[in-house]
């Protein structure tokens, strides 16, 4: 019975994949160039994100606030970090799209930088998606409200799946900047501001 279900699920997955990829190719943003990057990015306040993941700050809050208040605040902090991670995931997707295009080009230097950017952007995207799953699960089961368990610590999501999130995002900014420069774009400050 289970074998038949799994078997049929595999066939269904195959058909869904065919339909999804056809739809994706049809609706996907066409040929993202360096001109189509800056306006599509969502700014991420890395300093604020760093504060959210800081173990000392969290310990201070835990000590200074009542248990109830800390749990309430922690839930808000988780929501805020989810928002940041969501932006990181979006920006990484935009940059992957752009890097994919540049990597196919004939300019070797640009292709090399694009390849670096791809690699880091995929890392950031992986971190973001895994972190979002983890945090949304915390929010779903309201882990912060369980009195018998300690409130979840945001410090735990500093590294997910072997990837240091903020450090990777920082490298992503650098890699994007180098490729942007290589492409001869001068609105470099706008790129950094929006990343």
């Amino acid at each position: 019975m289970i074998v038949t279900i799994v078997w049929n699920l595999m066939i269904t997955a195959g058909f869904i994949s065919c339909v999804v990829i056809a739809a994706w190719i049809w609706f996907h943003f066409p040929d993202r160039t360096a001109d189509d990057v800056v306006d599509f990015l969502l700014p991420v306040d890395l300093e604020k994100a760093e504060t959210l993941l800081d173990a000392n700050t969290e310990t201070h809050l835990r000590c200074d606030l009542s248990r109830r208040d800390f749990r309430k605040l922690q839930r808000k902090r988780i929501h805020l970090y989810v928002a940041f991670v969501h932006r990181m995931a979006h920006n990484a997707a935009v940059l992957i799209d752009w890097a994919n295009r540049e990597a196919e080009g004939s300019d070797e230097q640009a292709a090399m930088l694009a390849h670096d950017l791809q690699q880091i952007a995929v890392e950031v995207r992986l971190y973001s998606l895994l972190t979002m799953i983890k945090l949304r699960l915390w929010l779903l089961i309201r882990l912060d409200s369980w009195q018998v368990l300690p409130a979840p610590s945001l410090y735990e999501v500093r590294e997910v799946g072997g990837i240091l999130g903020l450090e990777s995002y920082d490298r992503l900014k650098t890699a994007a900047s180098f490729l942007f420069l290589e492409m001869g774009r001068r609105n470099f400050d706008e790129l950094l501001h929006n990343l």
């Binding site: 595999m10 066939i11 058909f15 994949s17 994706w24 001869g184």
Partner: protein, 247 residues
């Protein structure tokens, strides 16, 4: 055999030969040696089958011998695609075992299914060949679904040849699994229809591969209309980038 039947049954062979020509011309045997070997083998097997089609006993021998090799080549090609797509992930400890584990799971699922839905070919080499083929089809569907997920989640380049190889196999394997399943359910009533559907889908898969391997790489990139940065400007910007980096 009517002309229509001849075209339908053997029409894929010229297509496969054109693919082989494209692969040789683009020197794709350097980047995808197993896929090249698979195509070369498919053409050789197809020609051999065509030549002996009038001698049933010889044809049967050639058919099953070549069919026995297809699953092995299928696994090798899928591994080649896996390595090509996931080379950036090789640093992560949990990534390399995914392929062998998936192969084992697909084969286990096929064996379990063969036990639960008897095909009437439980014994002998032919049953093993068919079982192995189904296992590889499952693997191809799993790999295709995985790559599509990666395109959606991680922006994997759908224009890369590795994805094209997988897309062709994925489409064909999905239809082949469906027709095989339906064949078990309905028996030989729709034998001709299932056979035709499989052949047409395989031809579409070959067309997909042809497109991926014959489309030339993108032309010169469009650069900014402004002149490139001067060395001084570049130095200044690189200094800014260095400052952006965290200590």
């Amino acid at each position: 055999m009517t002309l229509l039947n001849l075209i339908l049954w053997w029409g894929e062979l010229p297509l496969q030969a054109v693919l082989l020509y494209v692969l040789v011309r683009k020197q794709s045997f350097r980047t995808f040696p197993w896929f090249f070997a698979y195509t070369l083998f498919a053409v050789t097997a197809g020609v051999s089958r065509f030549l002996v089609r009038s001698h049933p006993s010889v044809y049967q021998g050639v058919y099953w011998t070549t069919e026995a090799i297809y699953p092995l080549m299928g696994i090798a090609v899928m591994y080649e695609v896996f390595r090509s797509v996931f080379r950036n992930f090789s640093r992560l400890w949990w990534f390399p075992p995914i392929f062998p584990v998936t192969v084992v799971l697909c084969l286990a699922l096929t064996i379990s299914r063969n036990h639960s839905v008897p095909s009437g070919l439980e014994h002998g080499a032919i049953a093993w060949i068919i079982g192995a083929e189904l296992g590889v089809r499952l693997l191809q569907v799993a790999m295709f679904a995985l790559l599509v997920t990666l395109v959606l989640l991680f922006g994997l380049r759908w224009r890369q040849q590795a994805f094209g190889i997988c897309a062709g196999y994925g489409l064909f394997a999905t239809v082949a699994l469906l027709t095989t399943t339906k064949f078990y359910e309905f028996g030989t009533r729709f034998k001709f229809l299932w056979g035709m559907v499989s052949i047409i889908t395989y031809s579409i898969a070959v067309v997909i591969w042809l497109w991926y391997f014959s489309v030339p790489p993108k032309a010169e990139l469009s650069r900014a209309e402004q002149p490139p940065l001067s060395a001084q400007e570049l130095g200044r910007y690189k200094e800014i980038v260095r400052r952006v980096r965290r200590p």
